[in-house]
Amino acid sequence: MVDPVTGELRVIAPGHTFKSITEKLAGIVLTSHTPLGWWGGLVIAGGGVGLLGLAVTWLFLKGVGIWGITIPVAWGFAIINFVWWIGIGHAGTLISAILLLFKQSWRNSINRFAEAMTIFAVVCAGLFPLIHTGRPWLGYWLFPLPFTMNVWPQFRSPLLWDVFAVSTYATISVVFWYIGMIPDLATLRDGAKSKFGQFFYGMIALGWRGSVRHWVRYETASLLLAGLSTPLVLSVHTVISFDFAVALLPGWHTTIFPPYFVAGAVYSGFAMVITLAVPIRKFYHLEDIVTIRHIDNMGKVMLLTGLIVAYGYGMEVFMSWYSASHWEYFMMWNRMFGPMGWAYWVLITCNIALPQLMWIRKFRTNVALMFIMSFIVNTGMWFERFVIVVTSLLRDYLPSSWGTYKATRWDYATFIGTLGLFTFLFFLFIRLLPMIPMSELRILLPEAKIHPKGEPLPEAGD
């Protein structure tokens, strides 16, 4: 579907009107017919949630000893998964905020479910540091609360910065997502046939009626939230990289971490958007709204961020040589050729070598290949965090204190459980809430153009 005028791929397939957009997208939510495939997916994902519940319950009963963490590898799967999930969330904010500021209107089709992805990813991410504390019932100690013991947090620690970064990120993401949804919820309220639907959407639409005065304030608030989310999203992964970079550990103590963590986050997040978008557009027949143009553009963003990440890896290797530090040099050698060296090469293959295929336009416009690529990239990004966490800790200064790391079945169960939780929440979201912003799509339609004032009205009276 190439536009004959611009020569570019179209953002939305031709033929849509205000009405058809409403009917198609509101229909997905308002229909009383729930597809069987949706139930199937929900049940499978629900199994994951059950597994997570089991793993976490057992953890609370027995303690973190059921995980594979040891000394020296005291940060295992929990931190790897935390960073991986939070990173996935970042693409949602990038799409909804940064691309809005850059006036990339193609993002309108995908921003809502990318934002939902952000929120659900943050839910999964936030779980890990909490259960990793060992005594999660004391989790509230992380916040500066005036409780009776008069104990206050220590603000010079990056781990506490993390608390503020992640909690702010979660709050602002939810608010931005909800504010963006209000006009569409009003559309659902007005279209709902069932009493429950009218009541439910009526309450959460807050009485939105589309007054242009409201729209002006709404647009200002959206732009402000976008402008605020942009530095926020960059700061969140920067602060997470401080968890590592501020420590005086070879392999962690580097200044390249903040930018390369942020780029890696966006990289894996876009991969996850593709992982979600491809089955959804197929299942709900949204090929005319989430078009090849979107897949193509996301491929380009992944290519760019992938190269930034590759630069980060290159710099790490270079600095470990250039620093002339024996410990840095050994760490890098151990990372590449030590007992866990295979993980490094998996990471290089998945994150740097294979994604170069996305230089080819034919590859980027092939939905099936991009779907596979999204899995490859997210595998690579998971291994990146694995390599950073495990291989840096594995062998420290004294050979007598060297150790190894082997994840247990509970580590895997918790990780698979969060994948299930993420999918479960996502299934609920696409059934109950508008997953594609109708009000923003209407702006993209040719009908939305205001004709010049001088143009005579058809059959003008006077």
Binding site: T17, P153, F155, V175, R209, L228, S229, A448
Partner: protein
């Protein structure tokens, strides 16, 4: 508050945003002020036509952000210097560079919440009941594919017959009277 009764206004329905903008501009030019347009997506031209150019959401957001940075930075300073001073490797109690990060996050948090809730408050939302929802055609189009102009009865220039005649001139799909 006394129960309001009578006519809220006259609601004209249009098929295209261009028709709406033209009608709204004409209404403004002929002296109507208490009126509003209702559209399923932001139509900036319509807001400009009825003379609504500036909003104060940015100001609310700025105040919120300043509040956030002051609140967090003072909290950190108070805790680290007075309430619970901890000697961490001999670093100063007042380690302001370390305090920047949480203060920065709270600036964004307060500014974002102020922008979002300030926008809702300035819009008078949530407001689940509104007279316009009584109009038979409003809910079937205002959030989907129709464009509405409402001349409100509180406008000094408002007169049922005259205002209706005025709206009819602009080829609306329909003009209906809205009750409170």
């Amino acid at each position: 508050m006394p129960v309001q009764e009578g006519t809220y206004g006259l609601l004209a329905e249009f098929d295209t945003p261009s028709d709406l903008v033209r009608a709204a501009q004409a209404a403004y030019d002929s002296g109507y002020r208490r009126m509003d347009c209702y559209t399923p997506y932001p139509v900036e031209e319509a807001a400009a036509a009825i003379g609504f150019h500036r909003d104060n959401v940015s100001l609310i957001c700025l105040i919120g952000g300043l509040l956030g940075v002051v609140a967090m930075f003072s909290l950190e300073t108070w805790i680290s210097v007075w309430a619970y001073p901890l000697n961490i490797a001999g670093r100063p109690y007042y380690s302001w560079p370390a305090f920047i990060v949480p203060a920065y996050e709270w600036t964004i948090l307060y500014a974002g919440l102020s922008a979002a809730f300030g926008m809702l408050a300035a819009n008078g939302l949530p407001q689940v009941y509104h007279p316009l929802f009584n109009a038979p055609n409003f809910r079937s189009g205002a959030t989907s594919d129709k464009f509405f102009l409402c001349l409100e009865s509180t406008d000094p220039k408002f007169d049922i017959a005259e205002s209706r005649a005025f709206l009819e001139k602009h080829q609306p799909v329909s003009v209906v009277e809205v009750e409170y």
